[in-house]
């Protein structure tokens, strides 16, 4: 473990040093800036509060879209998964919509909703919806029919089957969809901001690029990376809280 960390630090450190001293001599500084300048730019944004302001906006958009899309995906996935007729009717329709690159819908959302925060939330929500819907739908469909029969023999009603079996067994799939959605939610929010906005990390990024401020672009990227890591950690923590048995499964030693 020590060796892994040592190697990692050496590689990253070496890369940063090469960047710092290569920039301006090997590659023009205009294109790649310098780590020291990027850090001071980032620090400037931290100190004057603009980083938190813009990151806060992006987080609100991503979270709102994540919640909306996630809830819609979950409930519609449940409904179509449990109702055979509806499932058959909507299955191909949803697959067609799924194949649209969701980002291509952004201009349409701009026309409908303007360039405010609503448009970013809807864009993010649309992206998240499909991911969560598909995994929920698959999860509900894959509930063991034997288990349903066994529960019916125990005297379970349809409602008890849904509450005690279908929901919890779909949760694993739902979480797979949710975890997958986190980076996409961020993409949705940032793309929305890149297209049209006057606030948010995406705006910070495109604004810096517009002024040929390479250090600013990289500093905004650092902000995005940190945000993505934090969001991932939050989902993982939530998952461990809700699905404790999965953690136990992972802890077991592998054997075949």
């Amino acid at each position: 473990m020590m060796r892994v960390w040592l190697l990692r630090i050496l590689i990253v450190g070496g890369f940063l040093l090469a960047w710092q001293f290569g920039s301006g001599s090997v590659i023009p500084e205009f294109f790649v800036s310098k780590p020291s300048i990027i850090i001071s730019k980032f620090w400037l944004w931290v100190v004057n509060g603009s980083l938190f302001f813009h990151a806060g906006i992006t987080v609100v958009e991503a979270l709102a879209g994540f919640l909306l899309g996630g809830l819609a995906g979950l409930s519609i996935g449940m409904l179509l998964g449990r109702n055979e007729l509806l499932g058959k009717v909507f299955d191909p329709i949803i697959v067609v919509f799924y194949s649209i690159p969701k980002v291509a819908l952004a201009p349409l959302f701009v026309i409908w909703l303007g360039i405010g925060i609503e448009m970013k939330i809807v864009l993010t929500g649309t992206i998240v919806f499909f991911l969560v819907f598909l995994s929920t739908y698959t999860g509900v469909r894959n509930v063991s029919r034997e288990l349903v029969a066994i529960m019916k023999l125990m005297g379970a009603t349809e409602r008890q089957v849904v509450l005690k079996l279908v929901l919890p067994s779909a949760v694993t799939w739902v979480f797979a969809g949710l975890r997958l959605s986190v980076p996409y939610a961020l993409i949705g929010a940032v793309v929305g901001e890149l297209i049209a906005a006057n606030r948010g990390l995406g705006y910070l990024l495109s604004n810096a690029a517009g002024q040929f401020d390479t250090a600013g672009v990289f500093a905004a990227l650092i902000g995005l990376i940190i945000l993505a890591i934090l969001l991932n950690m939050a989902v993982r923590a939530f998952e461990n809280l809700v699905l404790p048995w999965q953690k136990e499964t992972q802890k077991r030693e592998m054997s075949i």
Binding site: E146, L147, A149, K152, G155, S169, W245, E248, R252
Partner: protein, 285 residues
Amino acid sequence: MTLPNRQKINMKGDMGVSIQNETVLSGDKPIPLIHYENFGKSFGTLVATKGVELSIRKGEFVTLVGPSGCGKSTLLNAAAGVFQPTQGAVYYEGASVTGYNRKVGYMTQSDHLLPWRTVERNIALPLEIRGLSSAQIRSRVEELIDLVGLNGFSKSYPSQLSGGMRKRCALARVLAYDPETLLMDEPFGALDAQLRLAMQVELRTLCLKLGKTVVFVTHDLDEAVALADRCVVFSERPGRVRQIMEINLPRERNLYRLRGDSQYAKLTTSVWALLAPSFEQGEKQ
């Protein structure tokens, strides 16, 4: 469909006790607990079983053996009401089985535990379904964990348990709601020989103690004889009852000592002799 006489007798009210006595005391024909009447089941063009006549008495331990694919599991499924026969009928306590039969508990080779529930919560599942209070559930679960010897594992998840412990948990769960009849479909199939023997001993003892009726499907002929009061031998597909063997070993038997028992040896040999031709045939197909 006309209701058979059995149905009428059963309708007369509180006959449960006297029927039980009859079963034990006299040779008269009491209502069988489960009765297959000219039973047949096809899946599409595949005829799994047909023309099965079989009665299972209350409190009996009956094992079903036969070549694979002869419809043994089909019989269990039909008694549980998971599906309807395509020919004939299945009666439970004299009434035709339509829909899920809640008087039976089902156990299969796969233990079907809920991976997101701990041992105690898995065992509690049927009790929650019955709507017991949490205090009642707690004490009943404690009893059951003790009964099947899972003490100390109540907070473990199924993924943390060995195969044998998972079976114990599944057994406790099926016993939890106290079904009159246990339908078991090769429940110990995946266990190693030693563990299987331990589970067999446990099952036989528990069922005798609790007065359960058991219908037990297996492909292991030794197991079929060792556990049974009666052993039903099936023909190859479409499965029919070939022979019903009375296993005249003592009801309270020591399964660990059976291997040396001459009566047991004789019985297994004759079951083997019955099935060997169809096994051979199955091999050639």
